[in-house]
């Protein structure tokens, strides 16, 4: 137990040191949430890199990775002559906000409790993520990840994290996910707090925490919740960059989206909305360097992983060809309308007619659309964020259009549609709360 707490402290220390490299105004909540996600992501990447030259997986590699990362961060900070800033900004919350925060804490504890009580049993957990982690842990090398479990081309952030936590037993492995859940709630609250009052931020965070599908994913060993953490945070900080023009936000968003690519294979497809909106923003401001800067951290994560899959474990994604084929169809305007219509009907039958949308996502979708309709005059103010959300929905359809070319769309819609929607789902709530906060602030000032 003590060793587990030490590992957790190590991850948080690494993550908070890494977060402190970004010179932007972040609240205490955001720093704490980012510390876990960035700390674990950099640590698993640090453990993965030595495996490229054949180093075994073990406690030594873990300590080595931790020390090397901290040394690099310390060197950068020294070079930039950064001051150590331990000042915590704390403003007194109101009573409703404290009650709502209590609710969020209870939901987080319920998620942690389930991870301790229930074993790993869900389908993809045993077939993909946990089996890869267990193989790395028991065979002592990262290279076996391709041989065990389905989809050998999947990135190894979660399998390596599982292998690290296996040192302490299965309940500790499952605790990775409630911590991601808490991290996403903290970042979400912190970002909302920057735009609105305590009450709306707490209410929005409680709604996110109590979304049935989000809560469920905090208790099962699937990579979708970590992916949602990285991707949602990257979009929120990209929006902050578009709004405030502070390059620290741009780099933070870039690192987060790079870690999303390091978490799931479809991370590369989700880059498209971010890069499109960033390019438009860069063109408007005539800051040509921004998209290149944004691509930097992504390449740092992507190139070693690409070398590993192509030359060491020799794995290739079967969906790449389907994605390229559908891209070709889209660009040549040779879209298969029968396929498109079939997918739309399938979506309607499955999600709207059967009413399963509310059972999974609660009432966030109708809330988002009705608030958007109500404040349609304010769309220009949030054009960047709304463009990102719109492109995310388009990407979702693109994935299904590509999948339909492989003839497996029925199976995909049955299982993974909800899971892929989770990657950007918190953004809907984020946008809704921003629109509402605006009005509340206005009426309060009156």
């Amino acid at each position: 137990m003590i060793l587990f707490i030490l590992l957790l402290c190590g991850i948080l220390f690494l993550g908070s040191s890494f977060t402190s490299l970004f010179k932007c105004k972040l609240s205490w909540w955001e720093r704490f949430g980012l510390a876990y996600g960035l700390g674990l992501g950099t640590l698993t990447f640090g453990v993965f890199l030595p495996s490229l030259v054949g180093a075994p997986f073990g406690k030594h590699t873990l300590v080595f990775a931790l020390v090397v990362w901290l040394a690099v961060i310390w060197y950068v900070k020294r070079k930039r002559r950064d001051e150590l800033n331990l000042r915590i900004h704390w403003d007194r919350p109101s009573l409703p906000a404290i009650i709502l925060a209590g609710g969020i804490l209870l939901v987080s504890l319920a998620s942690l409790f389930e991870s301790v009580v229930q074993p790993i049993w869900s389908l993809d957990a045993v077939a993909i993520w946990a089996v890869k982690g267990k193989a790395i842990f028991s065979l002592g090398t990262v290279r076996v990840a391709g041989d065990y479990g389905y989809h050998s081309y999947y990135p190894l952030n979660i399998p390596i994290a599982i292998a690290l936590f296996y040192y302490f037993g299965e309940p500790f492995v499952k605790s990775i996910f409630p911590f991601y859940f808490m991290a996403i709630l903290m970042v979400f609250y912190g970002c909302l707090r920057r735009h609105g009052c305590h009450n709306t931020a707490s209410a929005g965070t409680l709604i996110l925490a109590l979304t049935p599908f989000v809560f469920e994913h905090s208790t099962i060993v699937y990579a979708n919740l970590p992916m949602a953490f990285y991707y949602t945070s990257s979009v929120i900080y990209l929006y902050a960059f578009c709004k405030e023009n502070n390059r620290a936000f741009l780099m933070l968003s870039s690192v987060l989206v790079a870690m999303a690519c390091w978490t799931r294979a479809d991370g590369l497809i989700w880059l498209f909305p971010n890069l499109t909106v960033l390019t438009i923003c860069a063109l408007r401001r005539k800051q040509w360097l921004d998209p290149i800067l944004y691509a930097g951290p992504i390449l740092v994560f992507f190139v070693p992983w690409s070398v590993f899959t192509h030359y060491i474990i020799k794995a290739e994604s079967p969906y790449v060809n389907a994605a390229l084929e559908s891209l070709k169809q889209l660009f040549t305007l040779n879209i298969n309308t029968a396929h498109l219509w079939y997918i739309l009907c399938l979506f309607y039958r499955r999600y709207v007619a059967l009413g399963s949308l509310a059972l999974c996502w609660g009432y966030v979708w109708p809330l988002f659309f009705s608030v958007l309709l109500l404040y349609c005059t304010r769309i220009p103010k949030y054009s960047y964020l709304l463009a990102l959300i719109g492109l995310d929905i388009l990407v979702l359809f693109f994935i299904y259009y590509s999948a339909s070319l492989g003839g497996r769309v029925e199976w995909w819609v049955g299982g993974s549609f909800y899971r892929i929607t989770l990657h950007f789902f918190p953004l809907l709530l984020f946008q809704t709360i921003l629109l509402i906060s605006d009005d509340i602030r206005r009426w309060r000032s009156k």
């Binding site: 319920a110 389930e114 009580v117 609660g362 509402i436």
Partner: protein, 154 residues
């Protein structure tokens, strides 16, 4: 005229504000009701499962398969090579439970290619070919293991 326009705009804003409050409060209440029910149900279930062993929880999820795979795990060494039927239904979870054993799926041809000793799983009609060596059969109803030291199967 201008004053009237101002009043109309103010009324529209107020109506919008009231609508927003109604929609937000209504949707939030429905959402929270749904979410709280899910979290509470699961927490109660977890409290009831607190005293149940790991094996029992797994048996509840995987039914007979968990005993079957536990039986294989107990009776084969860690470095064993095991042959399963070609289209074994639970192949997706086999690796997780039987790690670090090497698992293969196939038939007589696959068995010939493997370096002995190989453990061949007896499942339904499988194996449909002759396998030399002793047999162990687990009876899931009685929990007894039948051991046939010299038996060969066809």
């Amino acid at each position: 005229m201008k004053k009237n326009e101002c009043t109309l705009a103010l009324i529209a804003q107020r109506v919008r504000y009231i609508l927003m409050v109604i929609i937000f409060v209504g949707a939030s209440m429905l959402h929270l009701h749904l979410g709280v029910r899910v979290v509470l149900d699961r927490s109660i279930q977890n409290l009831m499962d607190l005293h149940i062993s790991y094996d029992e929880k797994m048996r509840r999820k995987y039914e007979w398969y968990y005993d079957f795979v536990s039986f294989i795990r107990k009776n084969t060494p860690d470095d064993a090579t095991i042959l399963f039927p070609h289209q074994f239904v639970w192949s997706y979870s086999n690796e997780y439970f039987l790690l670090p054993r090497r698992l293969h799926y196939g038939n007589r041809e696959t068995l010939r290619k493997l370096k002995p000793p190989v453990y061949v799983v007896i499942y339904k009609e499988f194996p449909t070919f002759k396998v030399e060596g002793p047999r162990m059969i687990y009876d899931s109803l009685s929990g007894l293991i039948h051991y046939q030291p010299k038996s060969t199967g066809e």
